[in-house]
Each structure stands twice: as structure tokens, then as C-alpha cells.
């Protein structure tokens, strides 16, 4: 990205969310630089998914603010955030099972086309083929374009989910446990894909597989009980005694 912008690309200030009496996220100050790959790790129930759900707009926060690309987006609807470049891929695979792979990605590509060129592209199906096929090629699913998404293997569905994210041309791509359920070989391919993307978009990654985290992340944020426990480079996090006690368990 050649666009000149302040180093802080995404910032949350005192962001919190309570569900009834349960505090899922307490008060989180998170700062992300443009172009970085950030991993968020933490034990189950630490509040990782709730945190990113507030960033992408699925869950409204009960306290705090979210600043993205120089603007306060706390009150924006999810689709308005997508228009600004925040793209979320689901933890529980939720591709459109009864649509073909092509149509799944086309839905995403169509949205980014209309955002750029207005409604006139809404009836032009030809301009859609190239971006859809590009996104499918990047994840290696181009040969399965006409297959129903529901007939794909679980690993391929996850990759399709990523392709849908890519077709939206994200500025911030949030991946919620993307390698869950993938085979070793698929994980290797996935890591290659993410490294490829690193120059184009900022990536926020929730991940349990520590090998993937160590290989991809430039910085790691550790969450526990709805708060940030530690933050630093992979080496710093590995050496942090508090993190080891709370999470790594070794």
C-alpha cells in the first residue's frame, strides 16, 4: 500500500462487552499498524472472538471506541465496515452450502465491484469472472468453481471462506481460527497464502496452532479473562513467564 497513513491503523480504546453478568471482554486497548500480521492467542473463553466480532461489527460493544483508518467506526453497521475494508472470515465455516464455489466468491466480488463503480455493475456479470477466478486461484480452488460449496471437504470450505474474504479486497482481514480442522499439508499451503498477502493487507489472526502463530505473526497479543495479558514479538511472548503460566502451560 502506497497510501500515506498514520502508523496506527486500527485502535480500540477501552473496548468492552458484557453479556448479562458475564464480562466477555473487559477493557481492551489494542493497536495495529498498517501491513502487519498480528496474532491474538489465549485460552478458550479469553474473549478473542468477542473482541474481533466487535471490530467487524457483529457484536455491538458495551463500552469503548474503535478507530479505523483515522475514523471512529464504533457505531457503524457491519456492512458499512466492510465498505471501509474490514473483512471477517467466520470461525464456524459458514459458506453458502447450496451455492457453487463461484457464486460464493462472486457474492463477495460483486460487493467490492459495486462499492467501486456504483450500481451500474450490479447487472454486469462479465466483469465479475476475472476477480472471482483470481480469488479462487489464490486458494487453489479454481478447478472446483462449479461444485456446490456444501460438497467440499472441510479444509476446502475454510479455503473458500478465505477466498470470499480476499474477493472483498480487504484492508484489514480478520481470520478467526482459519487452520482449525486443516491437514498438515493444507496448513503449509495456508501459511504460504498468508505470507503472500502480508504486503497487501493488514491481518488479524486468531489462532490456536502455535506453530502457525510463530511462523506468521510479527507481533502477538495474548488475551486472558477478557483482558490483554501481554503483547510483543514471538520471541518475547515465548519468554514471558506470565504467558507461560496462563496459556502455554510449559
Amino acid at each position: 500500500m502506497t497510501v500515506d497513513r498514520s502508523p496506527t491503523f486500527l485502535e480500540t480504546r477501552g473496548l468492552g462487552r458484557r453479556f448479562g453478568g458475564l464480562t466477555a471482554v473487559d477493557s481492551v486497548d489494542l493497536m495495529l499498524n498498517a501491513g502487519e500480521i498480528r496474532a491474538v492467542i489465549g485460552p478458550n473463553g479469553a474473549g478473542k472472538t468477542t473482541l474481533v466480532s466487535m471490530i467487524c461489527g457483529r457484536v455491538p460493544p458495551s463500552a469503548g471506541n474503535i478507530l479505523f483508518d483515522g475514523a471512529d467506526i464504533t457505531r457503524l453497521k457491519p456492512w458499512e465496515r466492510v465498505a471501509r475494508g474490514i473483512v471477517y472470515t467466520f470461525q464456524i465455516t459458514s459458506v453458502f452450502r447450496n451455492l457453487s464455489c463461484f457464486d460464493n466468491v462472486a457474492l463477495a466480488a460483486e460487493r467490492s465491484l459495486t462499492l467501486q463503480h456504483g450500481l451500474r455493475s450490479a447487472f454486469d456479470t462479465r466483469g465479475l469472472v476475472a476477480p472471482v477466478m483470481t480469488a479462487l486461484q489464490r486458494v487453489g480452488l479454481e478447478a472446483r468453481r462449479d461444485e456446490l460449496a456444501g460438497n467440499l471437504s472441510y479444509g476446502h470450505q475454510r479455503l473458500l471462506e478465505v477466498a470470499m474474504g480476499l474477493a472483498l479486497r480487504p484492508k484489514l482481514l480478520i481470520l478467526d481460527e482459519p487452520t482449525q480442522g486443516l491437514s498438515e499439508a493444507e496448513i503449509v499451503g495456508f501459511c504460504r497464502l498468508i505470507r503472500d498477502l502480508a504486503g497487501e493487507t493488514t491481518i488479524l489472526l486468531i489462532e490456536h496452532n502455535m506453530d502457525v502463530v510463530m511462523e506468521l505473526a510479527q507481533r502477538i497479543t495474548v488475551m486472558a479473562d477478557g483482558n490483554i495479558l501481554a503483547e510483543g514479538s514471538p520471541a518475547e511472548i515465548m519468554a514471558n513467564a506470565e504467558v507461560q503460566r496462563a496459556y502455554l502451560g510449559t
Binding site: V82, S94, D103, L107, A122
Partner: protein, 326 residues
């Protein structure tokens, strides 16, 4: 379900051939059908337009409305009251009725689309009942349950020097066929367009669609409005072609009919509404000749159909054999 637009040009040609074929058969049928069936098919085609409209909302966008009779009635009364009190000629009355249905659907949509699922069914039902009771309440104007009949002159229009009489069987058949062709072509175009793909995406997974950047509410409002306009066009045509306007068309029964026709023919298929409407019409017709308790026969056949064709006739056919069917 098939994939709109993605299946390539080969299936595109098949789709065109199939639908043009159906229209051609309907056109030729008017020279072969005896008078009774000619009039029956006129009615079926008009009601199929109503079902097509219902199917855009239910079959493609996944919203089950129990109040579509209000949109059909908006078209019906738009023509009837427009001709009677505003002195509109049939063509302007038709436009007036269709537009009334569209505005009705859009305004009511602003409220009812805040709900979903069972609540949506109940709220649409409630609005339709309010519409029905309003028609009864203004008995002086609408003639209530008894209804009224359009004058012969109110059903005639001069086009390019020739007189088009909607009461004449062949003229009525061709008007119904033209309306059905237009509505079907429009629906085919719509569901295969990117907008139709978003409708289908909302039906499949609304939350995911929202996270792809679509304002689902706006798309649902568009689907409801289009659905309302098509239903009202059918109602308006019904008034002109059959000349009778009555409150029974606004009753819950007519909302259920639309649902039933679409379910029988195949939800989310383009030809399903026509198949379902025709099937239901002839089921009732044939069984009522045999016995006075014909609804028992109809009911038994419907149960069998649901058992063997759970997705409707064309829906099940598409699942098993013809994946390219739109």
C-alpha cells in the same frame, strides 16, 4: 439449488430454450383448447403471475409471508375503484393498481421487515387482515363481501384504432399470456442477476450476507416491493379480465393459495408457480366433478405430493436431474 449466472453459456441456452418452449406451447394452446379450458388457462396464467411474485419473496429471498392477498387485492381494487370513481381507462387503471400494490408493499415492508421468521408471518397476516377488514368497513365504496362487477365499457380499450375487449375469451387469453411472459422473463432475469444472487444468499444465510457487506434489510425491502408489484399486477389483470371485484380476494385464503401454489410447483424455481397453480386448479376441478367433498380428495393428493416431492414438483426434479433449472 442452482447457481445463477455461473453455470456457463451451455445451460444458459438450455434455460432460454425451455422457457421459450413453454411460452410457445401456451401460445399454440389457444387454438386447440376448448372454450372451458381456454378460460381456465387464462385464469391460471394470471394467478401464476401472483405466485411468481410470491416466489420472489418466499422462494428466493426466504421470507414466508402470510399476507400477500393484500397486494393482490391492492391491484384488484386499484383497477375497480380507479375505474369506478376516478374514471380511469383500463390501461391507466392497470398501472394505478400495480403501483398501489408496490407502494403498499414498500411502506408495509418498512415495518414488517424488522421482524423475521414466525413473527414475520404473523405481522404480515395481521396487516392483510387489517386490509381485508378495511374493505368490509368501507362497504359503501367497496360493496364489501358482495363485491361489484365492472361495466363492459370499463373493460374495453382502443389501441391503434382496434378495440381490445378484455371480456372476449381469446383476447383475454392473450393478454394473460403477455402478462405471464413478461413477469416470467423479468423474474428469470432478476434471479440470474447479481441482485438475485444476493436474494438467494439472504435466504441461505442472512448473517453471512451481511458480513459480506450487504445491507440485507434494503435487499429484503426490494424483494418485497418487487413481489408486491407482481402480485398487484396479477390482481389488476384479474379485475380487468374477469370483471369481478370482491373482498374474498383479500382474505387469508388467497394468501395461503399463493404459498400453496409455490410449494406445490417448487419453491425457488421459475416455472414452479405456473405448474403449481395449474395443478391445484385442475385437482380441484377434476375432484369436484366426482364428489361434493372434493377437498378430502385434494388433501389426500397434496399429502402424497409432499411425501414424494418434498421440494415441490420442479424443486425435486431439479435436485435429482436438472441442476441447471433456474
Amino acid at each position: 439449488m442452482t447457481a445463477p449466472g455461473s453455470a456457463g453459456s451451455a445451460s444458459g441456452a438450455k434455460v432460454m430454450a425451455l422457457h421459450l418452449g413453454v411460452i410457445a406451447i401456451l401460445f399454440v394452446a389457444q387454438f386447440l383448447l376448448p372454450a372451458y379450458h381456454l378460460s381456465a388457462f387464462t385464469r391460471i396464467m394470471v394467478l401464476a403471475v401472483y405466485a411468481l411474485g410470491y416466489n420472489i419473496l418466499f422462494g428466493y429471498t426466504g421470507l414466508l409471508s402470510l399476507g400477500h392477498a393484500m397486494f393482490f387485492a391492492a391491484g384488484l381494487y386499484g383497477v375497480g375503484l380507479g375505474a369506478r370513481f376516478l374514471g380511469l381507462n383500463p390501461l391507466s387503471a392497470f398501472l394505478f393498481g400495480s403501483l398501489a400494490g408496490g407502494i403498499f408493499a414498500c411502506v408495509i415492508g418498512l415495518v414488517v421487515l424488522r421482524t423475521s421468521g414466525v413473527a414475520f408471518m404473523i405481522v404480515t397476516l395481521m396487516f392483510a387482515q387489517a386490509g381485508y377488514l378495511t374493505i368490509l368497513l368501507f362497504n359503501d365504496v367497496t360493496r364489501g363481501d358482495e363485491g361489484f362487477v365492472l361495466e363492459t365499457t370499463e373493460r374495453q380499450v382502443t389501441i391503434a384504432g382496434g378495440l381490445l375487449d378484455f371480456a372476449a375469451p381469446h383476447a383475454a387469453y392473450n393478454v394473460a399470456l403477455a402478462l405471464f411472459t413478461g413477469a416470467m422473463a423479468f423474474c428469470l432475469f432478476l434471479v440470474r442477476s447479481p441482485i438475485g444472487r444476493v436474494f438467494i444468499a439472504i435466504r441461505e444465510n442472512e448473517e453471512r450476507t451481511r458480513m459480506l457487506g450487504y445491507n440485507a434489510y434494503r435487499y429484503k425491502l426490494a424483494a418485497l416491493t418487487v413481489s408486491g408489484i407482481l402480485s398487484a399486477m396479477a390482481g389488476a389483470a384479474y379485475a380487468l379480465l374477469f370483471g369481478y371485484i370482491g373482498a374474498s380476494f383479500a382474505s387469508i385464503q388467497y394468501s395461503i393459495f399463493a404459498l400453496l401454489w409455490v410449494l406445490l410447483g417448487g419453491t425457488g424455481t421459475i416455472l414452479g408457480p405456473l405448474v403449481g397453480t395449474a395443478l391445484m386448479f385442475y385437482l380441484v376441478d377434476a375432484s369436484s366433478e366426482v364428489t361434493s367433498s372434493y377437498l378430502i380428495v385434494v388433501g389426500a393428493i397434496l399429502i402424497l405430493l409432499v411425501l414424494f416431492f418434498p421440494k415441490g414438483l420442479l424443486g425435486s426434479l431439479r435436485r435429482k436431474k436438472l441442476r441447471w433449472l433456474p
